[in-house]
């Protein structure tokens, strides 16, 4: 969906703008949260971002409780969504900024319009991979051999299958089940798939 082609040039420029921000360190903390729910790493990340978020929020919300809420919600989203961060797609600061901006946007909408519809994640997706992971569902019969005789699944039918009866675990569920960090499970899956391909190659030779 979003390609986020951050040119080298921009990255370099922003690095010059602030050599105070230790980007690799931030990435590492986010990664540690994603991989092993590392509370220490989260505390570090919190100490870096929270005071800054609070100050920005105080600029947007005169009400102290609301500003605190922005900090609480943003950091709590960071804790729960860290695995959605992809360091190849952009800096940790960009990702946390997106999370913070989205929380702020939804809160302002709630205060102004009394609407709790949380639209921000649709406007500015926090997880770039969402569309990739679901790509199997797009455009079902696109280049099927039997396309000529069987038309695509009706949308409603697809939704039902996706929503309820695709009896498949998510990678997250598998990680919890195996009591392993998500990253380990992902690399196990990758390795296993790689081995399979080698085996198939051997058979064909």
């Amino acid at each position: 969906m979003q390609t986020n082609l951050l040119s080298k040039e921009t990255s370099a420029k922003s690095t010059n703008m602030s050599d105070k921000i230790n980007h690799p360190q931030l990435c590492q903390w986010l990664d540690a949260i994603a991989q092993s729910r590392d509370k220490q790493a989260f505390t570090h990340l919190f100490n870096f971002f929270a005071p800054k978020i609070l100050r920005i929020a105080r600029g947007k919300f005169p009400n102290e409780a609301q500003a605190n809420e922005v900090v609480q919600d943003t950091m709590s989203n960071v804790w729960r969504k860290a695995h959605l961060f992809n360091k190849d797609k952009g800096a940790a600061t960009t990702w946390v900024y997106t999370v913070m901006r989205n929380v702020t946007f939804d809160m302002l909408r709630k205060i102004q319009g009394n609407k709790e519809d949380n639209l921000s994640d649709d406007i500015w997706p926090v997880a770039e991979s969402m569309s990739c992971e679901s790509k199997g569902f797009d455009d079902h019969l696109a280049d099927k051999k039997l396309l000529s005789v069987i038309e695509a699944l009706p949308q409603a039918q697809q939704d039902v299958i996706k929503g309820f009866y695709l009896r498949e675990m998510s990678q997250e569920q598998l990680a919890i089940h195996l009591n392993l960090p998500l990253g380990t499970v992902k690399s196990r899956l990758r390795l296993a798939l790689g081995k399979l391909k080698v085996q198939l190659g051997e058979k064909h030779d």
């Binding site: 005071p51 100050r55 997880a127 969402m130």
Partner: protein, 227 residues
């Protein structure tokens, strides 16, 4: 080819999160179809993010340094413990494609609009409109469908009128518009768009239209109907 893009100022407000949901959605829809604006947005976001978390920039927000630090000192440890207590993780759900039909034709709704509620559709002539229920007071958002040969009577705008072409094409006095085009008009514009082959648009307007042709004055309610 997409020829009409949001102005840089508008993209900046979008990145800052300062625009209403309707206009933000309009820009997100356009950016989904326009690689150029998408790149502008991601570069700008990176810069703004970097700025936001720099100490220097943040000094601007300090209202009362001491009280802020006191509040922070009390709350923060509490907050951390609160947050890490939860073992929940947010699982990214696969995007569910939603469709909408106008005159027996099915259109895929842009992902950005997928959680927004659509009102009942109303018809007048070759126009069909579904309001998008965003509850933004004087700002109205809609999906507007024009059947082949249909058009909107000549009008000007008191406020602004945004049209993002989701499918098909239309033309007015200044030329042809195609899928993905982001057309922002204000009170100084006057136009009479016609769609030869039909089209579907996402529209946002902050005021009733003001019709300029005599006979259309009688039809003025059409203004609040369309936008």
């Amino acid at each position: 080819m997409i020829n009409h893009h949001p102005k840089f100022e508008l993209i900046k407000s979008f990145v800052n999160g300062d625009l209403p949901a309707s206009l933000s959605a309009g820009i997100a829809i356009h950016a989904d179809m326009c690689a150029v604006c998408q790149q502008t947005i991601s570069q700008l976001t990176e810069q703004v993010a970097e700025h936001s978390f720099e100490e220097v920039y943040l000094d601007r927000f300090i209202v009362d340094n001491e009280s802020l630090e006191t509040v922070a000192a009390i709350d923060f440890n509490h907050m951390i413990n609160d947050i890490v207590e939860s073992s929940d993780i947010d699982i990214a759900l696969p995007a569910v494609e939603k469709t909408v039909s106008f005159n027996d034709k099915q259109y895929t709704i842009p992902a950005v609009l997928s959680s927004m509620k659509l009102g009942k559709s109303s018809h007048i002539g070759k126009l069909t409109r579904s309001r998008i229920l965003l509850n933004e007071n004087e700002i109205h958002s809609s999906l507007l469908h024009i059947q082949p040969g249909g058009g909107i009577p000549e009008h000007t705008h008191k406020g602004f009128e945004l049209t993002v072409l989701l499918d098909g094409s239309f033309h007015d006095e200044s030329g042809e518009y195609v899928k993905g085009d982001f057309i922002m008009l204000d009170g100084s514009h006057q136009h009479n768009p016609v769609s030869t082959n039909g089209c579907l648009c996402f529209t946002v307007a902050n005021d009733a239209l003001h019709f300029t042709q005599g006979i259309n004055k009688l039809l003025n309610p059409i203004g609040s109907f369309i936008y």
